[in-house]
């Protein structure tokens, strides 16, 4: 396989695509948002349970999308669970930099942890939206924006 392709479709990404984590409806959620990528028809629902200390206690997702968007959503849920809202927002900010090819420091990279596997996405401009759809939707859910969000 071509090197660039291999970096896009890393084993962890393929694994999360095949068996996504937290792939369910969260009945007790108190935050919710729906995200669309109208160009490709990707659709994601994000459910979040935030406690009184602004901590993300539970987070889950449902929907359909490509391997990049699905695995990104899956990994996101595992990363932000147990984090404060502000922390999750910070990670999103860095993740966005990572996938759009903005240079980030080593410290920032460290904060991204497992999410670093998405750095191959920056070589595929058409796929950046796939990687960031879940994050945009989580952001909307945390802000409890009523309307559905799109990546356009």
């Amino acid at each position: 396989m071509d090197q660039e392709l291999r970096e896009l479709y890393q084993q962890v990404i393929l694994d999360h695509n095949k068996t996504p984590r937290n792939f369910k409806k969260l009945e007790e959620a108190n935050h919710f948002a729906e995200g669309f990528n109208p160009l490709c028809g990707d659709h994601i629902d994000i459910y979040v349970l935030v406690d009184e200390n602004n901590m993300i206690k539970e987070v889950s997702f449902q929907g359909s999308g490509c391997a990049i968007s699905k695995s990104s959503a899956s990994l996101m849920t595992t990363i932000v669970k147990g984090k404060k809202i502000e922390e999750a927002e910070e990670i999103f900010d860095k993740f966005q930099k990572l996938v759009t090819g903005v240079e980030i420091s080593e410290a920032e990279m460290e904060q991204l942890g497992k999410l670093a596997i998405f750095q191959g996405v920056k070589e595929f401009p058409a796929r950046v939206k796939c990687a960031s759809l879940a994050w945009h939707t989580l952001n909307a859910a945390l802000k409890n924006e009523e309307q559905s969000i799109t990546t356009e």
Binding site: M1, D2, E4, L5, L8, Y9, L14, N17, L39, C40, G41, D42, H43, S64, G65, C66, A67, I68, K70, F124, R127, C130
Partner: protein
């Protein structure tokens, strides 16, 4: 024996296709270090060198604004522009030049009709009839018209093979139906609709018919008098011509009753602040400086098509389509083709079980293969078949059996990654 004769015929045709391929310089491009295999012809086709040269020649030697110019270059530009109108007329066998209007493309042509025909003929309670397999460009303009007038949009259902249900069509025609607007060939299913029959049925009730020929004009011989449609619309860029230019064919009787779409230069015969007298057809609908080079380039694309044996070419495309369908159907158990109409053109929309079309598209891209993935601007079709998206190959005159074999082989790589 029959097989041997068939393959000989195909070999002979392939020789011609080799020659055609040489006419399209872009086919020499390498994509990710592999020869380009272009299967995205329903989105746009490539341009033969003749068209590219014509566009360059126009800017190098002719460039001027058309109509009303007394200088030589303007006269030359005007005559080339109007010559293109004659080429379109002959290509679709229209009766009069006044019935050929140049637009920006199919979408623009439909919007022109929705706006202008709408203002002339559509009022509250009227109905416009489209089908389930329309491109968004043949849905949204009518929705906008319905919102402003209070008219209703009615939709002809399709069956599981992606064919129009003709009995339902007849049932949906009512005394309130003011226009039927139907796609000639579906861009996401490949279905060839019986547009002549559709027009005939509507005309029994005096209802005009618009045919969206965006995918029809390049894959079949279009004769608007034989089809007897009231409007036929298409784009230049899917007919091996430049982008940003298209055609609205309309019967003069209707076009005359329709008010202008846009106001401006060229569409008037006399302007005062009190009242403006509009120009005659077709200029009434061509406000402002048009896409002159686009129109002239489209004329050259039509010359190019005429220079080929189109009947033989359409047969070749049909054979190639059959071959591709057979190959795709029989190669992978997890592959499903969406759209299996009996009358079908070279559009293969497919899904692979458990693999999203986008991932297919990215992996094929690395093999040099250009396909389209997504909803193809036909979301209702995707909903109808319960899929969010498909991967789509769409064939053009320069595609070959070898390229199809290569694509089938490359799908194996998709399975290697996701298997």
């Amino acid at each position: 024996m029959r097989r041997a004769t068939e393959s000989k015929d195909i070999m002979e045709t392939t020789l011609n296709i080799k020659k055609i391929r040489e006419d399209f310089p872009i086919l020499q491009t390498l994509v990710h270090n592999k020869p380009l295999v272009y299967f995205d012809n329903a989105a746009t086709t490539h341009k033969p060198k003749a068209v590219i040269d014509k566009v360059a020649e126009y800017y190098l030697e002719t460039n001027s604004n058309i109509h009303r110019g007394v200088h030589l270059l303007s006269q030359k530009a005007t005559s080339e522009y109007e010559a293109a109108r004659e080429k379109v007329l002959k290509f679709i066998n229209a009766k009069k030049l006044s019935e050929i209007i140049f637009t920006k493309g199919t979408t623009d042509s439909i919007n022109l009709v929705a706006s202008s025909f709408g203002r002339a003929f559509i009022k509250e309670g009227d109905e416009i009839l489209i089908s389930y397999m329309e491109h968004h460009s043949n849905i949204v303009p009518w929705q906008i018209l319905c919102e402003t007038t209070g008219a209703k949009l009615k939709v002809i259902p399709i069956n599981d093979d992606g064919e129009l249900i003709m009995e339902e069509y007849e049932k949906l025609l009512s005394p309130r139906t003011k226009l039927v607007s139907i796609v000639h060939i579906s861009n996401s299913l490949g279905t060839i609709n019986p547009v002549k029959k559709i027009a005939e049925i509507a005309h029994e009730k005096d209802i005009p018919v618009l045919i969206d020929g965006a995918q029809g004009i390049q894959h079949s011989k279009v004769d608007v008098q034989d089809l007897d449609c009231d409007f036929y619309v298409f784009s230049g860029h899917k007919l091996y011509g430049p982008t940003g230019v298209g055609v609205l064919y309309g019967k003069q009787r209707l076009l005359e009753q329709m008010p202008p779409y846009q106001g401006g230069g060229d569409m008037i015969s006399k302007v005062t602040f009190e009242k403006t007298k509009y120009n005659t057809l077709p200029y009434k609908f061509e406000a402002g400086t048009p896409n002159i080079v686009g129109v002239i380039g489209l004329g050259t694309a039509i010359d190019y098509m005429n220079g080929l044996d189109t009947e033989n070419l359409f047969n070749y495309e049909h054979e190639l389509s059959e071959y591709a369908h057979e190959k795709f159907r029989n190669s992978f158990p997890g592959l499903t083709i969406i759209g299996n109409a009996k009358e079908k053109t070279g559009i293969i929309s497919f899904i692979l079980e458990g693999i999203h079309p986008h991932d297919i598209g990215t992996i094929l891209d690395f093999e040099g293969i250009a396909i389209r993935t997504g909803h193809h601007c036909t979301q209702p079709v995707m909903d109808r078949f319960g899929v969010p998206a498909t991967a789509r190959l769409s064939l053009g005159i320069y595609n070959t059996r070898e390229e199809i074999d290569y694509a089938v082989n490359s799908i194996k790589k998709v399975y290697e990654v996701f298997g």
